[in-house]
Structure formats: C-alpha cells, structure tokens
Amino acid sequence: MSGYRLPAGGRIDRAAPLDFTFDGRAYRGFAGDNLASALVASGQMLFGRSFKYHRPRGILGMGTEEPNALVTVDRGATAPGWGRATPNLRAPSVALYQGLNAQSQNRFPSLRFDLGAVNDRLGALFPAGFYNKTFMWPRSAWEKLYEPAIRRMAGLGASPTTRDPDHYDATYAHCEVLVVGGGLAGIEAALSAAQDGGRVILIDEQDELGGGALADRALWGELADKTMALRRLGNVTVLTRTTAFGYYHQNFVGAVEQLTDHLAPEQAKGARERLWRIRAGEVVLAQGAIERPLVFDGNDVPGVMLSSAGRTLAVRYGVAVGRAVAVMAVHDSGWRDAMAMKAAGVGVVAVIDLRSDVAPDLVAAARAAGIALHLGHAVTSVSGRHGVSGVTFAANGTGHAQQLAVDALLMAGGWTPTVHLWSHAKGSLRWDADWGAYLPDVAQENCRAVGAGAGAWDMGSGLALGTLPGPKPIWQTKAFVDFQNDVKARDIDLAVREGMRSIEHIKRYTTNGMATDQGKTSNLNGLQIASGSLAKPVTDIGLTTFRPPYTPQTFGALMGHHKDALFQPIRKTVIDGWAADHGAVFENVAQWRRARYFPQGSEDMHAAVARECLAVRERVGMFDASTLGKIEVVGPDAAEFLNRMYTNPWKALQPGRCRYGLLLREDGFITDDGVSARLAPDRFHLTTTTGGAARVLAMMEDYLQTEWSDLDVWLTSTTEQWAVIAVQGPLARAVIAPLVEGIDLSPSAFPHMAIREGRICGVPTRLFRVSFTGELGFEVNVPAEHGRMVWQAIHAAGQAHGITPYGTETMHVLRAEKGYVIVGQDTDGTLTPDDAGMAWAVGTKKPDFVGKRSLSRPDMAAPGRKQLVGLLTEDPQDVLEEGAQIVADPDQPVPMTMLGHVTSSYHSATLGRSIAMAVIADGRARDGQVIHVPMPGRTIRARVTASTVFYDPEGSRLDV
C-alpha cells in the first residue's frame, strides 16, 4: 500500500462517493475520479500483467498514453455474458461511476499470483524475434504443439462472446475551424477562431476541458474563465469525451464521442458512442505533449511512473502516489511537478537529476520546499516486485551506489509533442534538439499546430536520452522501452546487431510501438536507443509511420449507421408483402429479395417447383418480375445509340415491337441481356438483368457522355417506376383479357414480341407480349404504386383458370427447359455470344458495336472454346449438381483435364427427367457424345445436345 487520498484538494467531488469493484473487490472513489486515480487512492498500485513476460505492472501515465493499466470493464447487468464487456480499456481513461465493475487482464489465476509469470523467469529464451528461430523441429510439432501454445499466449483481454446490446450513432459535421485538443492552447485557438464568426468545433478526449492545465492549480482560474467564455459563444461547439482518431484527405477528420460509458449503466440512455465525420475549412491541432519515461533497470515496477502522472494524481484528483516519493528527472518539468506535489501535500523526498547544472531557481525552490537533491545522479535499480520499496542511485549511474527507501518513483524524461494527427495528414516533421523530439514543420493541408504539440510552449529544458547510464551492460538489464509489449532496451540493441538497420525493421522485429498505445511513450526512446546502437544521429534513422486511429476506437462506433437492420438496404418489390403473406420462401438476388417459390402445405422446394412449373405449362402462372432493371431511352438518336451499344440491330425495329438485346463489354464478353421495346420512334423501354441494372445504366451513360456526346438521347432509370407481373401459360390471355382496356389482345393484333399501351384494372400499363417460359405470356408493367393492386386483381381473375403464383426457382426451370440463358449463371464474363450459342443475336452487318472488335482477337475466334450446350444424364432421375465439372475420360489421374462445367441443372417436371446446361470445350461439335461428371464416390454419364432447347423446339406454344 503506497497510494492514498490526500485530505484535501483535487477536482473531485468528495461529497459524492462512488462504489466500484476491481477484480471482485470493493473500492470507493469520488465523482470526478477515474478508475486509476480511485484505485491508487485506495493503495492499489498493481493493475495488470505485461503481454509477454506477465510482469506485474502499475500505471505509467494518467492519460491516453497509458500502456500498462489495461482493464476489462463489464457493463452487463448481472448476467455473466460478455455482451457488454470491453477489454483493454486504459484505467486512467475510464471515468468512475457507481457500480463500475472492472477486471484485470492477462493473468491466471489472479493478478498477484499469475502462472504466466514463469515467462519472466525464462525471459532470456524469449528475446525479440525468438519465434523465428525455433519451433521448427520436429516439423509435425509446429501444428500440433508449438502453434497452439503460441496462440494460447496471445492477446491481453478477452473479446466479448455475445451480441452487443448497445447501439451507436453517427453524423457528419462541417465547420470553418476545427480545433483538436482542449488544453489552454486549444481553448485559446477556439476563442480566437470564433472571432471570425464561422463555425468552430473544439474537441477534447477528456471529460473536461483543460488538458495539462488541469494539473496546475495556478491555471484553474484562467481555465474557468476561458471555458466560460467559450460556452457563451453561439458559434462554438465543444465536444468533450471525444477523440479525433484520424485526419484524412482534405481536412476530413474522424472523431468518436463517448456518450454513455462514463455513466452507470442504469443511467445510460441512447447510443453508446457517436461517430463524427467532420469536414473543416481549417484544422488547428493542439494535441499537447506526452511525457517520456526513462529507460533503466527496474523502470517497470508498479509505483514507477511518469512524473506528470504523479502530479496529475495529486493536483487533479487529490491522490498521493506514495508516502515517500522520489523524482528521477532529466528535465525541468520533473522539478516543477515535485514542487506542485509537495504543495498539494505529497511527501516528495528527493529529486535525482542526471544533469549537474539545473536552473538555479528550480534548485532554490526545491531546497526551500525541503526536498533532497541529487544532481548528476541516476537511478540504477528499483527494489520491490509488486510495488516500489526503494531505489538505488549513483553519481552518473556508475559511481558509488546509494539507497533510498521510497514507495514511488517518478520519471521526468522530457516531452514528446503529439504529432499524430499532423502526420496522418502527411505534414512534415523536423527534429528539434531542444525538445529531443520531432515537431510539426510544413503542413500539407490547411492546418496548423499550436501549443505544446507544436513545440510552442515552454515546458522547461532537459536532456534527450536513450537509456539512463548504469553500471550494467545493456544486455544484462531489464530496462523497458515499450512497457505493454515488453520491449527492453536490449531487444532494440539485439535487433540492430542482427542487421535490422531501418527503424521500421527494428519496430517489427522487437514490436516496439506496436501495442495498443502505439508507442506514445516508447517510440522516441526506441529511436534514441537505436541511434546509439547504430552509432547514427537520430535524424538519419527516420521515424515509423503514424497511422489512424490516435487511440483505439470501437468497431461499433466506426461503422456508423450500418449496424444490424441498417447494415444494407434490402430492396423489396411492391408485391413482396403479398408474397410474404402467401408463404413465399425468399432468396437474395443482388440487393433485392425475391420470392423463390410458394410452398403449399408441407411441400419442399422440389415439390413446390414441380407444381408451379406444371401449372404454367398446363394452365397459367404469375410471377413478380419487378426487379428487372429498366431504362427509358428517349431522344431522336435513341435507336442509333442502342444500335451502337447492343450486338444486334435496332434501327429497323418498329414501334410497338420488342427485341432481345445482348450487351457485351468492350472486351467482347457478354455482360447483360434483356428484352426491350420500342414505344415510339424516339422512345425505348429497355430491360436489364436484376443484378445488372445499375452497371448497365452506368456503362451506357459512360458511352453516351464521353464517346457519343453528339447524340440527342437521354437515359432514365425506370426500374422502380414499373411493377412487372409476368402472366405466363396457355391461359394467360384469358386471365388478363377481362382486366385490360384499350388493347386488342388477339394474336394477330398483338403478336409475340410486341408491346401495347393501354389500361389494366383501370391504371395505365405497358403490356409486353413476351415469354421467358416458352408459353404464351404477358409482362404487365404498371406504375409501381398500383403493382400490388393489379397483382391481386390478376390473382383474383386467375382463380377461375387455376392461376398459380411462382417464384424465381420455377422461372429458372421453365426457361432452362427452353434453353434460355441467364446471364451470370450460364455465362460468366468469359463467354462470347458465339460461346453462348447466341451468334444469331450478333448483327454481323453492323460495322461496329461495343465489344465487336474484341471478338476478332485471335483467341476469341480460336477453335476449342467452351460453348454452351445441353446435357441429358443417362439416368433421367440423376440431377447434376450446378458447378459440377465435366471430363472426357473419367479414369484419368488427378489433375484431370476438365472440359467444362454444368451451369444450370434441374429436374424438369414437364419432361419427367433432369435437364442441364453446360459450357464444354468444343461443345457443339460433341453433339450426341457421352461425357462424364466425376462426383465424390461416383461418376455420372450424360449425353451432350448441341441445342439447349429441351422443350417445344419449334416454339409453337408461343404462337397462340
């Protein structure tokens, strides 16, 4: 026990005690505390175990830089489920609330007695990069023994294992000036920016504004005044508990606001966190600076921490880190902290400073405060395992050793300006010898840095060191650089010795700076040590890349609105509700959901589809085809345009007639198809595949705008304007006839592949006489808002004729019986029209169309290409699996020579047997040949049919 609550002081509310638990033990703190300050006040200095060696660790810092004190906070009510647990939270960043339930991590069975700590004893076997050097023999042991063992050691806290009940919010925001960092420098910047009248947003990650000034009593008055002044301004938005995590192109800054995690779960209402996506005219970075630890033997014993942390605990939280506290400084700020702590009532017993000449005023003031001074000295070791019990120090670290009984040791290693966001935005940095750190230099965006983060603050002066001098060679010390990843000075030295000369290699070999704190306290020390080992100045070594996020942020917040039901829109047709009411089983196609079949009673898909198919062939069926893409092509040059886009000719198509169109990419491969109608000389109603709608429209716009901008024609997506009801089957005409007005439905007046405009059920329709089933058929297009009504009316009218609603699966079978291709299933982006058996759809006399030139490339016209053909299995009950591969010789060894694959395959109730389509090398020339489909356990024999039409090859059923 060393920390305790000072009798007075701090910004906590002593009248508002809060009870909480840590590892199941009850503690008490005050409103305004964070988890770390409250635990230290209760004498708890041990917070966690390090990653690799499981060394006991206390807190190092009191801000976001904290690498050690990581805890899991469980906000679940009482159930043990992890659904509301968050691992790896930094204790100093966890606001205290009534009932807070926190647990330490990476230890078993308990924090004090951790079996994993055996790693520390064996630490010599685990230097940087050890895993590259071992676990290779015997070979089989890697999978069975070594890798599982390594993986078990992984990680810090545990991931939640059940669904997160919280929700997350997101917004965009715009401002003229965004200020990141609400210390005095940021507040100042916001106040002055607000003068210009523009919108100002000020962001700070802490629960109150003030930054470093919160740990300086003398500044509280000024802080209060300025904060008040800010709040009075109408054009300033202040966001506290909000972290700017990334600075992206053109002043786009991402931030996450914590909304409820600082409240007791019962009080938390609404979203847990909010994502702010901010576009700013100017960005002012006032991120402040982070103190650097010192690197020496024993610097990770709980109770050794940053000097600023000791000061913050005392001044801001009214907590003493110990009864006898020593400060090991190489920087003036440590002296100021010592005096501030002393003034707050902390028992600061000594300042040890490596420097011999320290500013006389500091020396005089410290003397006056009764603090013992050891100039020109360095701490060489720390005693105690779970807490500091004393330090050994010596002149320049190597002289006569002296002991000092203390229960806390503070490190003042100087300051590193926080240049993370500056660097995200590719601002350049320059080395500053006085700071011993990199400072912002030239901005790439409209951005400037102010305050300590810009090096524009007097933090005092000091030395920039790699390690403190000591009596032992570096490889015998346990002097930590990256506390969380257990990287020691000697690991960096080893990396250099092993040939890692780039700081990037050193980082990856040692993992320095790769832990959850991303090197906030370790990168600069690592650089200094590498500089020593490489005997090169720091400036020749460079710096690893700063990357978002500044501090870790939850997936839930970063994914914005797209959680659960809002992940992605699911598009439904206007008839979807009817289908759902009638028991449809749905499938997803592109963004749409479509009815796949309508089972009755206990029917499975097979039975339902067989029934639906027969109904269409024998009577009539109805199908919701609304998802088909539709484009209205209008203008005097409409026909000319389509003629250039599609493979087949369009100019001679008469108004009132339809035509099948085949669309290629410029590389000659089929990309889409559809039946389209000419409504008027200058107006076409195009259809595309469901999945191709957006792609085709974009492609057509591209050609129209950038290649043929002289054409007077425009494209409008009408996919959702029209609901489409396919009525198919020999009785189709009889069903719709009573509903249709103004259209002569007789075969002579309204032949196959024609379109007529009129009314159905009293609403306007574009009635297509087309068929994707091989039966007499109509596609009733009506304005979407009437779609369901018309569907119901047709359904009602069809009752007398035994009308049967059918879904996509039946549609697939029916069209396969007729050998109609589904682009994307029977073709796959590698098929030409000829491959697909659709040479007939290519206007050979047209001089050009999109993709034409590619078709004459040598390989596109070469023999041996895969061609779409039909397959009939020898056993008519065998239904081939779609995707099954086809070979000529089933007895050849693996790897086999494959001829092609099955693209579509169904049981045809109409034909009483299976049918399939396949693409097969030289397929049409194999007409009548037997091919083999080797499946696991057996090989299926099937006969090739050059034609894919299995039913009504003459097409007589269309002509009724």
């Binding site: 010599a124 590259n132 990334g246 992206y248 786009f252 990037e504 870790p552 939850t554 040598p858 086999m896």
Partner: protein, 417 residues
Amino acid sequence: MMRFSGLNLIAQAFSGHQAWPEQWPDKAPKASYDVIIVGAGGHGLGAAYYLAAKYGITNVAVIEKGWLGGGNTGRNTTIIRSNYLYDESAHLYDHAVKLWDGLSQELNYNVMYSKRGVLMLAHNVHDIQSFKRHIHANRLNGVDNEWLSPEECQAYCPPLDISPNARHPVLGGALQRRGGTARHDSVAWGYARKATALGVDIIQNCAVTGIRRGADGAVLGVETERGFIGAKKIGVSAAGNTSVVMNMAGLEFPLESYPLQALVSEPVKPIFPCVVMSNTVHAYISQSDKGELVIGAGTDQYTSYSQRGAFHIIEHTLAAICEIFPIFTRMRMLRTWGGIVDVTPDRSPILGKTPVPGLYANCGWGTGGFKATPGAADLLAHTIAHDAPHAINAPFNLDRFRNGRMIDEAAAAAVAH
C-alpha cells in the same frame, strides 16, 4: 549463417544473445551482376534465393528503394489459399502452397505458416453455384476444398452468426483446410537471410531510377540512386510500382495501382480460429498469433501511390465484419494502413518475359499475391534462369491481353484476395 534452433537459442541465452550474427549484411553495390531483381518484397527476395539455391546463380543483387519487406509483403492480411477456379490459377497457387509447406525448414527460419483453414462464405444461390464450381474443379485438380453447411461453418468458426434472418444469411461455405496464414515479415526476412547466405547482395535504400538498354534493345543494367549497376538480366518484382519501373525500359503495362487498406484490432485472447472470407459481404478476417484481429478492407476507387486510404472504406469494412460477427462491435480498431496493389484487367498476375530482352516481369498480383510468394519467386527464378517460362507460369504472359486469352477468376466469381 548461424543455425537457428531451440538449442542454439538456449545456448545464446547464456551469453545474453550477444553472438547472433547479422541476418543479412548491408552491402554496397558491385559494378555488375548476372541478375538484378528490382524490389525486395517476398517475391523478389524469394526469386534471388531460388536463383542461388536451385539454379546456382549467386551473382545476384536485390535492389530495394526502401527497407526490405516494406512493400505489400509487410502490409497484407496474410491469407494463403489455392482453391482457385481455373486450371492455370489452381496450378499456380497450389505450387505456392506446396512450397509454403516446409518453407520454415528450408529457410531455417520460422515463417509460421499456419494451416488453420480458409473458410469462404456463401450467402446466396449464386454464391453456392460458384463455390460448388470451385470445389469440383479443385477436387479434379487435386486441390483440397470442401463444402460446409451453415452449422458446420459455425462449428469451424464459432463467432460466426448463421442466423437465417441476417441481411446476408450464411448458406454454407467452402473450406480449404490447407489454407491459412503466415507471418508476413518473417517471410521476407527468412528469404533475405538465406539468400544472402548463398551470396546474394541485398541493397536497400537504393531506388532504381532507370533501366539502361543496349543498341540491340537488351538490358544493360539499372540506374539507381547510388549510380549505375550493370546486369545481364533484370527481374522486376516491384508490385504497386511496376508501371513506373517498366516505364524506365520504355514499356507500358496493363496495370493500375490502387490503395488497399487493412486494419488490426487490439490484441485479445484467442477467439477466432481460422480465416474467414466473405466476398458478398466484403469481409476478410483472421486472428494473428499475437492476438489482433487482422481485417482486410477494400480498395479506394482511384489509382494512387499514397499508401493511405479513405475512412469510409474502413467504415464499410467494419460494418461488414460486424454483420457476420456481431460479437465484435465492442472490439476496438488499433491501426489502419494502406498498400499499393497493382491490378491487371483480368485480375491475374503477369509472370514471364517482356518484349525487352533480359527483362522479366512479376506483377499484377493485386490484392492476392502474398499467398503466391514462394511459388511466384520460384517461377520468376526459373523464367530468368532459362530465359523461358515454366509451364505453370506460361499462361500468365503479356500476350493474353492481345489475343484475349484472359484468366479471369473475378469474372467467374467475384473473388478478391
């Protein structure tokens, strides 16, 4: 080269690990080499190693503009698999997977190839058809790949949400058990160490700025930031920068370079046993041996050499991950980064000779060339050594863009990585 082994590690522990030698020496460039490889990624370093180890060509330099392994080799999500559809691709990637097996021993460097299985999720009927097509083709090609039901998928990967009410319900999956991951950095380092032990020079911080050609058009060597270096043959393995390097030889390539992002979460205890890919939802995820969830994001839409990317890509990536793994919304993102991937029109690599005598190309691996590292390296070495491609990489030539013999895996099924 001091042998790496557990015993040696123990022995060195007693002397404070003082005696480990450099894994690769820092070399000044010689005046000329038999072969220069441009780009010290896994592919380039590997090619140098195989040139020395298999073809006895040791007068080789690998020239790198930055630090070795710092390109896409050091920034990918390390997914390894070979269940590609077309024979050409299946043979190419499976050649690599076979080399991954045993690579640690061959290099005496643990590259941590982990056969934890790659599970690709099917979310709609089209996915099922396409996956089955892959599975059957793979089986006849001798490449393992098996179909799992949704329940089997979840048993294989417990965090998976297989609820039928999901926006994109899991309808099954294709599992390649030999698929998995390897430690990206170790691959580069292992090849570098072994190659240099065989006599290869690795020259870092030395950008190639020009390719000098003789009167006959054949290569003479490279101009670099450190002067001219002669070479009889030059292999270019510069990933995202290939267009730039090929330009130096007067060649224009069918390539575009896009930023591709990836990210890791904070490390957590083991929760995720395998690799899961969902092309429909756009989610790619595994857990590293250190504990981070390693997540592949998408490419930005525009070409770029900036190794960064936009935030909305990350937003969509995490939404996709949490759609399939809703338990991860409270996990936190630790770091994002970008790499520059070079993409060909058919998304398959180019690996072979170029129109310039003595100049060889290995590029176009796009978002998926880490898995190919040992295979591509071996085949590049073969092609350079014989001045002719190996049968496996012969189809991956430049001519296919002229004659139309594309190897378009993406067209067959929207597959990334």
